[in-house]
Amino acid sequence: MHEMSLCENVLQIIQTESQRQHFSTVKTVWLEIGSLSCVEPDAMLFNFEIVCRDTLADGASLKIIRTLGTAWCSNCLKEVPVQQRFDECPTCHTHQLQITQGDEMKIKELEVE
Protein backbone atom coordinates (compact mmCIF):
# COMPACT_ATOMS: atom_id res chain seq x y z
CA MET A 1 0.00 0.00 0.00
CA HIS A 2 0.91 3.59 -0.52
CA GLU A 3 0.24 4.87 3.01
CA MET A 4 3.95 5.66 3.39
CA SER A 5 3.79 8.12 0.49
CA LEU A 6 0.57 9.59 1.90
CA CYS A 7 2.18 10.10 5.32
CA GLU A 8 5.16 11.78 3.66
CA ASN A 9 2.69 14.10 1.91
CA VAL A 10 0.95 14.85 5.22
CA LEU A 11 4.29 15.72 6.81
CA GLN A 12 5.22 17.97 3.86
CA ILE A 13 1.94 19.86 4.24
CA ILE A 14 2.56 20.22 7.98
CA GLN A 15 6.08 21.53 7.37
CA THR A 16 4.84 24.08 4.85
CA GLU A 17 2.08 25.19 7.22
CA SER A 18 4.55 25.48 10.13
CA GLN A 19 6.31 28.29 8.27
CA ARG A 20 3.08 29.97 7.22
CA GLN A 21 1.21 29.66 10.50
CA HIS A 22 4.25 29.86 12.82
CA PHE A 23 4.40 26.74 14.94
CA SER A 24 7.29 24.49 15.90
CA THR A 25 5.69 21.40 17.45
CA VAL A 26 2.71 19.36 16.37
CA LYS A 27 0.82 17.46 19.05
CA THR A 28 -2.23 16.13 17.20
CA VAL A 29 -3.12 15.71 13.54
CA TRP A 30 -6.71 15.17 12.35
CA LEU A 31 -7.23 13.49 8.99
CA GLU A 32 -10.51 12.93 7.23
CA ILE A 33 -10.40 9.59 5.42
CA GLY A 34 -13.42 8.38 3.47
CA SER A 35 -14.43 4.77 3.95
CA LEU A 36 -14.25 4.22 0.16
CA SER A 37 -10.78 5.75 -0.22
CA CYS A 38 -7.93 3.35 -0.81
CA VAL A 39 -6.44 4.02 2.62
CA GLU A 40 -6.07 1.57 5.45
CA PRO A 41 -6.25 3.55 8.73
CA ASP A 42 -4.07 1.07 10.65
CA ALA A 43 -1.32 1.28 8.02
CA MET A 44 -1.64 5.07 8.16
CA LEU A 45 -1.14 5.12 11.94
CA PHE A 46 1.84 2.80 11.72
CA ASN A 47 3.57 4.73 8.93
CA PHE A 48 2.82 8.14 10.39
CA GLU A 49 4.79 7.39 13.53
CA ILE A 50 7.83 6.32 11.48
CA VAL A 51 7.67 9.19 8.99
CA CYS A 52 7.42 11.80 11.76
CA ARG A 53 10.43 10.65 13.77
CA ASP A 54 12.92 13.48 14.39
CA THR A 55 10.60 16.04 12.82
CA LEU A 56 8.36 18.76 14.27
CA ALA A 57 5.62 16.12 14.45
CA ASP A 58 7.69 13.52 16.33
CA GLY A 59 5.34 11.67 18.68
CA ALA A 60 2.25 13.50 17.43
CA SER A 61 -0.97 11.61 17.77
CA LEU A 62 -2.90 10.90 14.59
CA LYS A 63 -6.71 11.00 14.72
CA ILE A 64 -8.61 9.65 11.76
CA ILE A 65 -12.16 10.86 11.12
CA ARG A 66 -13.97 8.33 8.90
CA THR A 67 -16.60 9.64 6.52
CA LEU A 68 -19.26 7.25 5.27
CA GLY A 69 -19.75 6.41 1.61
CA THR A 70 -22.73 7.72 -0.30
CA ALA A 71 -23.66 7.39 -3.95
CA TRP A 72 -26.19 8.88 -6.36
CA CYS A 73 -28.47 6.24 -7.82
CA SER A 74 -29.31 7.26 -11.39
CA ASN A 75 -32.23 4.84 -11.33
CA CYS A 76 -33.90 6.01 -8.09
CA LEU A 77 -32.66 9.62 -8.49
CA LYS A 78 -31.57 9.88 -4.87
CA GLU A 79 -28.52 9.53 -2.64
CA VAL A 80 -28.02 6.15 -1.01
CA PRO A 81 -25.48 4.85 1.53
CA VAL A 82 -22.76 2.46 0.30
CA GLN A 83 -20.16 0.46 2.21
CA GLN A 84 -18.16 -0.75 -0.84
CA ARG A 85 -17.66 0.43 -4.40
CA PHE A 86 -19.46 -2.62 -5.77
CA ASP A 87 -22.52 -2.32 -3.52
CA GLU A 88 -25.92 -2.32 -5.16
CA CYS A 89 -28.55 0.36 -4.54
CA PRO A 90 -30.43 -0.71 -1.38
CA THR A 91 -33.73 0.36 -2.97
CA CYS A 92 -33.67 -0.78 -6.62
CA HIS A 93 -30.78 -3.31 -6.37
CA THR A 94 -29.04 -2.08 -9.54
CA HIS A 95 -25.44 -0.92 -9.73
CA GLN A 96 -26.15 2.41 -11.44
CA LEU A 97 -24.33 4.28 -8.69
CA GLN A 98 -22.02 7.27 -8.82
CA ILE A 99 -19.98 7.74 -5.65
CA THR A 100 -20.66 11.19 -4.16
CA GLN A 101 -18.90 10.93 -0.80
CA GLY A 102 -16.44 8.58 0.85
CA ASP A 103 -13.20 8.91 -1.11
CA GLU A 104 -11.88 11.95 0.80
CA MET A 105 -8.25 12.01 1.93
CA LYS A 106 -7.82 15.33 3.71
CA ILE A 107 -5.72 16.83 6.44
CA LYS A 108 -8.26 18.77 8.52
CA GLU A 109 -6.56 20.49 11.42
CA LEU A 110 -3.65 20.40 13.81
CA GLU A 111 -3.05 20.97 17.49
CA VAL A 112 0.26 22.79 17.64
CA GLU A 113 2.58 24.66 19.96
Binding site: M1, H2, E3, M4, S5, L6, E8, N9, V10, L11, Q12, I13, I14, Q15, E17, S18, Q19, Q21, H22, F23, S24, T25, K27, L31, S37, C38, A43, F46, N47, I50, V51, C52, D54, T55, L56, Q84, R85, F86, E88, H95, Q96, L97, I99, M105, K106, I107, K108, E109, L110, E111, V112, E113
Partner: protein
Protein backbone atom coordinates in the same frame (compact mmCIF):
# COMPACT_ATOMS: atom_id res chain seq x y z
CA UNK B 1 11.12 2.36 4.08
CA UNK B 2 7.63 1.10 4.60
CA UNK B 3 7.51 -2.19 6.40
CA UNK B 4 3.92 -2.80 5.30
CA UNK B 5 4.60 -2.88 1.59
CA UNK B 6 8.13 -1.58 1.05
CA UNK B 7 7.00 1.78 -0.32
CA UNK B 8 9.58 4.49 -0.36
CA UNK B 9 10.27 7.24 -2.81
CA UNK B 10 13.89 7.55 -1.81
CA UNK B 11 15.21 5.11 -4.41
CA UNK B 12 13.36 6.37 -7.43
CA UNK B 13 15.44 6.72 -10.57
CA UNK B 14 14.67 7.81 -14.06
CA UNK B 15 16.72 6.49 -16.96
CA UNK B 16 16.35 8.26 -20.29
CA UNK B 17 16.61 6.60 -23.65
CA UNK B 18 20.36 6.18 -23.99
CA UNK B 19 20.42 2.52 -24.95
CA UNK B 20 21.43 3.04 -28.57
CA UNK B 21 24.39 5.24 -27.90
CA UNK B 22 27.60 4.12 -26.32
CA UNK B 23 29.54 7.12 -27.55
CA UNK B 24 28.18 9.69 -25.15
CA UNK B 25 26.92 9.81 -21.64
CA UNK B 26 24.03 11.67 -20.09
CA UNK B 27 25.06 13.53 -17.01
CA UNK B 28 21.45 13.86 -15.99
CA UNK B 29 20.56 10.24 -16.61
CA UNK B 30 19.11 9.66 -13.20
CA UNK B 31 16.63 11.53 -11.13
CA UNK B 32 16.45 10.78 -7.48
CA UNK B 33 13.17 11.33 -5.77
CA UNK B 34 12.14 11.69 -2.21
CA UNK B 35 13.84 13.76 0.39
CA UNK B 36 13.81 13.08 4.06
CA UNK B 37 12.22 15.32 6.58
CA UNK B 38 13.55 18.83 6.43
CA UNK B 39 14.02 19.06 10.18
CA UNK B 40 12.83 22.63 9.95
CA UNK B 41 11.78 24.31 13.13
CA UNK B 42 10.00 27.62 13.01
CA UNK B 43 10.25 29.86 16.03
CA UNK B 44 6.86 29.32 17.51
CA UNK B 45 4.50 29.52 20.42
CA UNK B 46 4.59 27.41 23.49
CA UNK B 47 0.88 27.37 24.08
CA UNK B 48 -1.12 24.65 22.42
CA UNK B 49 -3.53 25.93 19.75
CA UNK B 50 -5.56 24.63 16.82
CA UNK B 51 -4.60 25.27 13.21
CA UNK B 52 -7.04 24.71 10.34
CA UNK B 53 -5.51 23.07 7.27
CA UNK B 54 -8.29 21.58 5.08
CA UNK B 55 -5.95 20.32 2.37
CA UNK B 56 -6.12 17.27 0.17
CA UNK B 57 -3.33 14.88 1.16
CA UNK B 58 -2.67 14.23 -2.53
CA UNK B 59 -2.89 17.97 -3.34
CA UNK B 60 0.74 18.20 -4.43
CA UNK B 61 0.48 15.20 -6.74
CA UNK B 62 -2.75 16.57 -8.16
CA UNK B 63 -1.06 19.91 -8.92
CA UNK B 64 1.64 18.13 -10.94
CA UNK B 65 -1.05 16.01 -12.62
CA UNK B 66 -2.96 19.16 -13.62
CA UNK B 67 0.23 20.62 -15.15
CA UNK B 68 0.83 17.39 -17.12
CA UNK B 69 -2.79 17.36 -18.31
CA UNK B 70 -2.53 20.98 -19.42
CA UNK B 71 0.62 20.19 -21.41
CA UNK B 72 -1.05 17.17 -23.05
CA UNK B 73 -4.05 19.29 -23.91
CA UNK B 74 -1.93 22.12 -25.36
CA UNK B 75 0.00 19.68 -27.55
CA UNK B 76 -2.93 17.46 -28.56
CA UNK B 77 -1.34 14.41 -26.93
CA UNK B 78 -3.39 11.40 -25.89
CA UNK B 79 -1.83 10.08 -22.64
CA UNK B 80 -2.94 6.69 -21.34
CA UNK B 81 -2.02 5.19 -17.98
CA UNK B 82 -1.79 1.39 -18.24
CA UNK B 83 -2.40 -0.29 -14.90
CA UNK B 84 -2.53 -3.96 -13.90
CA UNK B 85 -1.05 -6.55 -11.61
CA UNK B 86 2.44 -7.83 -12.49
CA UNK B 87 2.43 -10.37 -15.31
CA UNK B 88 -0.86 -9.38 -16.98
CA UNK B 89 0.92 -8.82 -20.28
CA UNK B 90 1.08 -5.00 -20.33
CA UNK B 91 4.44 -4.86 -22.06
CA UNK B 92 3.53 -7.57 -24.59
CA UNK B 93 0.31 -5.74 -25.39
CA UNK B 94 2.26 -2.53 -25.77
CA UNK B 95 4.99 -3.91 -28.05
CA UNK B 96 2.40 -5.48 -30.37
CA UNK B 97 0.41 -2.24 -30.39
CA UNK B 98 3.49 -0.17 -31.21
CA UNK B 99 4.45 -2.43 -34.10
CA UNK B 100 1.01 -1.85 -35.62
CA UNK B 101 0.54 1.86 -34.91
CA UNK B 102 4.07 3.33 -34.99
CA UNK B 103 3.87 4.17 -38.69
CA UNK B 104 0.46 5.84 -38.30
CA UNK B 105 1.34 8.44 -35.69
CA UNK B 106 4.15 9.50 -33.34
CA UNK B 107 4.19 7.46 -30.12
CA UNK B 108 6.33 7.60 -26.98
CA UNK B 109 6.35 5.39 -23.89
CA UNK B 110 7.10 5.87 -20.19
CA UNK B 111 7.88 2.62 -18.41
CA UNK B 112 7.51 2.34 -14.63
CA UNK B 113 9.09 -0.50 -12.69
CA UNK B 114 10.75 -0.83 -9.32
CA UNK B 115 14.01 -1.95 -10.91
CA UNK B 116 15.71 -2.64 -14.28
CA UNK B 117 15.51 -1.13 -17.77
CA UNK B 118 14.23 -4.34 -19.32
CA UNK B 119 10.77 -3.11 -20.27
CA UNK B 120 12.04 0.13 -21.81
CA UNK B 121 14.51 -1.94 -23.83
CA UNK B 122 11.69 -4.16 -25.10
CA UNK B 123 9.84 -1.02 -26.19
CA UNK B 124 12.91 0.53 -27.83
CA UNK B 125 13.42 -2.69 -29.78
CA UNK B 126 10.23 -1.75 -31.68
CA UNK B 127 11.87 1.54 -32.70
CA UNK B 128 9.71 3.67 -30.40
CA UNK B 129 11.26 6.15 -27.95
CA UNK B 130 10.91 5.07 -24.33
CA UNK B 131 12.07 6.27 -20.94
CA UNK B 132 12.32 4.07 -17.87
CA UNK B 133 11.41 5.31 -14.40
CA UNK B 134 12.70 3.08 -11.63
CA UNK B 135 10.69 3.77 -8.53
CA UNK B 136 13.04 1.89 -6.21
CA UNK B 137 10.86 0.67 -3.40
CA UNK B 138 7.98 2.87 -4.59
CA UNK B 139 4.84 0.98 -5.56
CA UNK B 140 3.40 3.49 -8.06
CA UNK B 141 4.33 6.31 -10.44
CA UNK B 142 3.48 9.82 -9.34
CA UNK B 143 2.70 12.88 -11.44
CA UNK B 144 6.00 14.61 -10.69
CA UNK B 145 8.03 11.66 -11.99
CA UNK B 146 5.93 11.61 -15.14
CA UNK B 147 6.42 15.37 -15.56
CA UNK B 148 10.21 14.91 -15.50
CA UNK B 149 10.00 11.99 -17.91
CA UNK B 150 7.98 14.11 -20.34
CA UNK B 151 10.69 16.78 -20.30
CA UNK B 152 13.21 14.17 -21.44
CA UNK B 153 10.96 12.43 -23.94
CA UNK B 154 9.64 15.65 -25.50
CA UNK B 155 6.61 13.93 -27.10
CA UNK B 156 5.55 15.42 -30.46
CA UNK B 157 2.37 17.41 -30.98
CA UNK B 158 -0.67 15.23 -31.75
CA UNK B 159 1.15 12.11 -30.56
CA UNK B 160 0.18 9.24 -28.29
CA UNK B 161 1.91 8.62 -24.95
CA UNK B 162 1.62 5.31 -23.14
CA UNK B 163 2.53 5.31 -19.45
CA UNK B 164 3.05 1.75 -18.23
CA UNK B 165 2.60 1.97 -14.48
CA UNK B 166 4.24 -0.26 -11.87
CA UNK B 167 2.50 -3.65 -11.81
CA UNK B 168 0.20 -3.19 -8.82
CA UNK B 169 -3.59 -3.16 -8.61
CA UNK B 170 -3.72 -1.09 -5.43
CA UNK B 171 -1.57 2.02 -5.19
CA UNK B 172 -1.58 3.44 -8.75
CA UNK B 173 -5.38 3.90 -8.46
CA UNK B 174 -4.93 6.88 -6.13
CA UNK B 175 -2.26 8.75 -8.08
CA UNK B 176 -3.47 10.86 -11.00
CA UNK B 177 -0.67 11.29 -13.55
CA UNK B 178 -2.55 13.71 -15.81
CA UNK B 179 -3.61 10.96 -18.20
CA UNK B 180 -6.78 11.06 -20.31
CA UNK B 181 -7.76 7.53 -19.26
CA UNK B 182 -6.59 4.73 -17.03
CA UNK B 183 -6.64 1.44 -18.93
CA UNK B 184 -6.77 -1.61 -16.64
CA UNK B 185 -5.39 -4.85 -18.03
CA UNK B 186 -6.53 -8.09 -16.47
CA UNK B 187 -5.29 -11.42 -17.78
CA UNK B 188 -7.64 -14.37 -17.55
CA UNK B 189 -5.00 -16.40 -15.71
CA UNK B 190 -5.62 -14.16 -12.68
CA UNK B 191 -9.15 -15.04 -11.58
CA UNK B 192 -12.48 -13.45 -12.45
CA UNK B 193 -13.01 -11.80 -9.06
CA UNK B 194 -10.11 -9.30 -9.38
CA UNK B 195 -12.50 -6.38 -10.11
CA UNK B 196 -14.27 -6.76 -6.76
CA UNK B 197 -11.10 -7.69 -4.86
CA UNK B 198 -9.39 -4.50 -6.06
CA UNK B 199 -12.40 -2.24 -6.74
CA UNK B 200 -10.54 1.09 -6.53
CA UNK B 201 -8.52 0.34 -9.64
CA UNK B 202 -11.45 -0.88 -11.72
CA UNK B 203 -13.49 2.11 -10.57
CA UNK B 204 -10.72 4.48 -11.68
CA UNK B 205 -10.29 2.85 -15.11
CA UNK B 206 -12.31 3.82 -18.20
CA UNK B 207 -11.32 0.76 -20.24
CA UNK B 208 -10.76 -2.83 -19.13
CA UNK B 209 -8.72 -5.11 -21.35
CA UNK B 210 -9.16 -8.82 -20.74
CA UNK B 211 -5.89 -10.25 -22.03
CA UNK B 212 -4.72 -13.80 -22.85
CA UNK B 213 -8.15 -14.94 -24.10
CA UNK B 214 -6.32 -17.51 -26.25
CA UNK B 215 -5.95 -19.50 -23.00
CA UNK B 216 -9.72 -19.64 -22.30
CA UNK B 217 -10.11 -23.29 -23.41
CA UNK B 218 -7.54 -24.37 -20.83
CA UNK B 219 -8.85 -22.43 -17.83
CA UNK B 220 -11.94 -22.30 -15.63
CA UNK B 221 -12.11 -18.52 -15.97
CA UNK B 222 -15.75 -17.32 -16.09
CA UNK B 223 -15.48 -14.34 -18.42
CA UNK B 224 -19.14 -13.27 -18.06
CA UNK B 225 -18.83 -13.25 -14.28
CA UNK B 226 -15.67 -11.16 -14.54
CA UNK B 227 -17.46 -8.62 -16.77
CA UNK B 228 -20.39 -8.53 -14.32
CA UNK B 229 -18.04 -7.85 -11.43
CA UNK B 230 -16.28 -5.07 -13.38
CA UNK B 231 -19.63 -3.43 -14.20
CA UNK B 232 -20.78 -3.71 -10.59
CA UNK B 233 -17.77 -1.66 -9.53
CA UNK B 234 -17.91 0.67 -12.54
CA UNK B 235 -21.08 0.68 -14.69
CA UNK B 236 -19.40 3.01 -17.22
CA UNK B 237 -16.34 0.84 -17.91
CA UNK B 238 -15.71 -0.26 -21.50
CA UNK B 239 -14.40 -3.80 -22.02
CA UNK B 240 -12.28 -5.34 -24.78
CA UNK B 241 -11.29 -9.02 -24.89
CA UNK B 242 -8.07 -9.78 -26.72
CA UNK B 243 -4.93 -11.84 -26.94
CA UNK B 244 -1.73 -9.85 -27.33
CA UNK B 245 -0.06 -13.16 -28.20
CA UNK B 246 -2.07 -14.35 -31.22
CA UNK B 247 -3.69 -11.01 -32.10
CA UNK B 248 -7.35 -11.95 -31.53
CA UNK B 249 -9.40 -8.88 -30.62
CA UNK B 250 -6.50 -6.46 -31.16
CA UNK B 251 -8.42 -4.59 -33.87
CA UNK B 252 -11.02 -3.49 -31.31
CA UNK B 253 -8.22 -2.05 -29.17
CA UNK B 254 -6.64 -0.26 -32.13
CA UNK B 255 -10.05 1.12 -33.03
CA UNK B 256 -10.51 2.41 -29.46
CA UNK B 257 -7.03 4.01 -29.56
CA UNK B 258 -7.62 5.70 -32.94
CA UNK B 259 -11.02 7.04 -31.94
CA UNK B 260 -9.81 8.25 -28.54
CA UNK B 261 -6.80 9.90 -30.18
CA UNK B 262 -9.08 11.63 -32.71
CA UNK B 263 -11.11 13.19 -29.91
CA UNK B 264 -7.91 14.76 -28.53
CA UNK B 265 -7.11 16.23 -31.95
CA UNK B 266 -10.43 18.01 -32.40
CA UNK B 267 -9.69 20.68 -29.78
CA UNK B 268 -5.99 20.77 -30.63
CA UNK B 269 -6.52 21.45 -34.32
CA UNK B 270 -9.06 24.14 -33.54
CA UNK B 271 -6.56 25.84 -31.24
CA UNK B 272 -3.57 25.56 -33.54
CA UNK B 273 -5.44 26.79 -36.63
Amino acid sequence: MCTVCGCSESETQLSPDNSHSDSHTHDDSHHHYGHGASHSHAPGFTQSRMVQIEQDILGKNNEYARANRQLFSNKGILALNLVSSPGSGKTSLLTRTLQTLKNELPITVIEGDQQTNQDAERIRATGVSAIQINTGKGCHLNAQQVGHAIEHLAPADASMLFIENVGNLVCPAAFDLGEAHKVAILSITEGEDKPIKYPDMFYAADLLILNKVDLLPYLDFDIDQCINYARQVNPRIQIIQLSAKNGDGMNAWYQWLRLTHQTKLIGFQATSS
